[in-house]
């Protein structure tokens, strides 16, 4: 057990060192949601009226509404970025070092996931700090309660990325992941519009949003930021996390020949 924990610490440290050395990645992770917050939200503020719905107790501006969704976006993109780096690691060979170490493979994958999640949490808090500077703040205890939720959401979205990295055969296919996973997951969620608003446009779209685990990750965070708890969202996120973890371990099973082809 001690051996496994030493390994986990090393994997997290390595991810942190890589993150620090890749400043472009950090800046991009902040610029992306800030563009949405400052440009997109400013344009839509006039077009979208928001009624009072939990966890909000009063009318809010659109910028306030989308901040939790943009936090989710940071974690979603980070999960996919980790997935991309795993595919890259596999193509470049450095994934082999990890997979041939004497630590159970499921634990290695979980450690990798945890490392990516820590990085995403740092990104989210930096984003929240900038949001606070432009006047979008939450109760202090909301920032604290958000931490375990960000950990859970990061693991869930990272788990999806991990599973995808096991199934993506080539780096070039990553563009497909962007088109078919990230964008639908983000746009068909409650990150940008509340469910009732989506229902006005299409009941089918509203139902898809309601089933999307990313919606629940966003809602879980939205409630936590106001010191509230959303039980349904928690159950969905935990279930999605377990499914993605199981799928990742299956995807990286050495008995599957997908990895084998890389060795020839």
């Amino acid at each position: 057990m001690k051996h496994a924990l030493i390994g986990t610490r090393a994997i997290i440290k390595r991810e942190a060192l890589r993150f620090v050395s890749q400043r472009g990645r950090f800046i991009a992770s902040l610029v992306r949601p800030l563009v949405w917050l400052i440009v997109f939200a400013a344009g839509f503020r006039a077009a979208l009226g928001l009624s009072i719905a939990p966890p909000y107790e009063t009318y809010i501006t659109y910028e306030v509404y989308i901040v939790p969704g943009l936090c989710g976006m940071v974690q979603l993109f980070n999960g996919m970025q980790s997935s991309l780096s795993l595919v890259y690691d596999r193509e470049m060979g450095s994934m082999r070092l990890l997979l041939t170490s004497p630590i159970p493979r499921w634990w290695l994958l979980f450690s990798k996931l945890l490392a990516g999640t820590f990085v995403s949490i740092v990104q989210v808090y930096c984003f929240l700090a900038i949001a606070a500077l432009v006047g979008i703040t939450f109760p202090i205890h909301g920032y604290l309660l958000a931490l375990p939720i960000l950990l859970l959401n990061g693991l869930m979205l990272g788990g999806l990325g991990l599973f995808l990295s096991a199934t993506i055969k080539q780096l070039e296919n990553f563009a497909g992941v962007m088109n078919f996973v990230i964008f639908p997951m983000f746009f068909l969620s409650t990150a940008l519009y509340p469910l009732w608003k989506m229902a006005e446009a299409s009941v089918l779209l509203k139902n898809i949003c309601a089933w999307n685990p990313f919606s629940h990750a966003v809602e879980l965070l939205r409630f936590a930021l106001y010191g509230q708890f959303n039980g349904t969202a928690l159950i969905v996120v935990v279930c999605a996390l377990l499914v993605f973890l199981w799928a990742s371990v299956w995807g990286y099973n050495p008995a599957r020949t997908g990895l084998a082809r890389k060795a020839t």
């Binding site: 390595r14 060192l17 082999r96 084998a260 082809r261 020839t264």
Partner: protein
């Protein structure tokens, strides 16, 4: 025989094609075994199986007496690997890369530092410890990888074409070092190559071609009066014919 590495009836297929056709061989503890084969012979597939990157269709592998597929973590703890492709993180320093590898083998703190210093010193790389890997030349890169593979004092060292792309002097230095660790440290070495000049007359030689073992024995016994390159060409060409 005291076995360092034992491969039994190892079979692996990609679809209908057998990459390894039920091969068997044994390397004694502390021996140097050269696995010679042309490109596409199945060497890298064998290495992927020996390191459990994937599991074979059938067959068994014993690392220092431990069944790799029954007790994978114990068996992997006894292996050091140098892959064909460099697997170092280029943005990190040599020492950071080695610390990472040491931690994956359960070493941390002073124990890790001692092991890293020892491994770097043996490869004459201690003065490069704080350089980023990106700044290293091909020879130093390979030496770093060998040092990394030896940090945890493995019983078996697997090297998959470790001298590809290196100049003659560096190749000789690395080949000599691999031979030296068998005699000085008792480590079993499996050295995959397609370069005949890396094999010494007293080495164990396994010739792999199209997924089958053509010869397994002491190099000088296999070659007889011929040069290894002539014998190797004769064996592999007769298979094609």
């Amino acid at each position: 025989m005291n076995e360092g590495l034992k491969v039994e009836s190892l079979l692996h297929s990609y679809g209908n094609k057998n990459a390894l056709d039920g091969i068997s061989f044994t390397v004694a503890k502390g021996a140097f075994c050269a696995l010679l084969g042309p490109n596409g012979a199945g060497k890298s597939t064998l290495f992927a199986l020996l390191t459990r990157l994937f599991t074979p269709s059938s067959g068994r592998v014993h690392i220092d007496g431990v069944d790799l597929f029954q007790k994978p973590n114990l068996a992997l703890s006894k292996i050091g690997v140098v892959f064909q492709q460099p697997t170092l993180d280029k943005d990190l320093t040599v020492r950071q890369n080695l610390l990472y590898a040491a931690a994956l083998h359960g070493l941390s703190g002073k124990a890790a530092s001692r092991a890293i210093e020892g491994a770097l010193e043996r490869l004459d790389m201690q003065h490069r410890a704080h350089e980023t890997v990106r700044a290293l030349n091909g020879g130093h890169l390979r030496r770093t990888e060998i040092a990394r593979a030896l940090i945890h004092q493995p019983q078996v060292l697997l090297l998959d074409e470790p001298t590809v792309g290196l100049d003659a002097e560096t190749r000789r230095m690395i080949t000599d070092h691999a031979h030296k660790i068998t005699s000085e440290q008792g480590i079993t070495v499996l050295w995959a190559t397609h370069l005949v000049d890396e094999v010494l007359p007293d080495d164990q030689l396994v010739i792999l071609h199209q997924g089958k073992i053509l010869k397994d024995g002491i190099c000088k016994d296999i070659t007889g009066e011929q040069s290894l390159s002539a014998r190797f060409a004769e064996l592999t060409e007769s298979q094609v014919a």
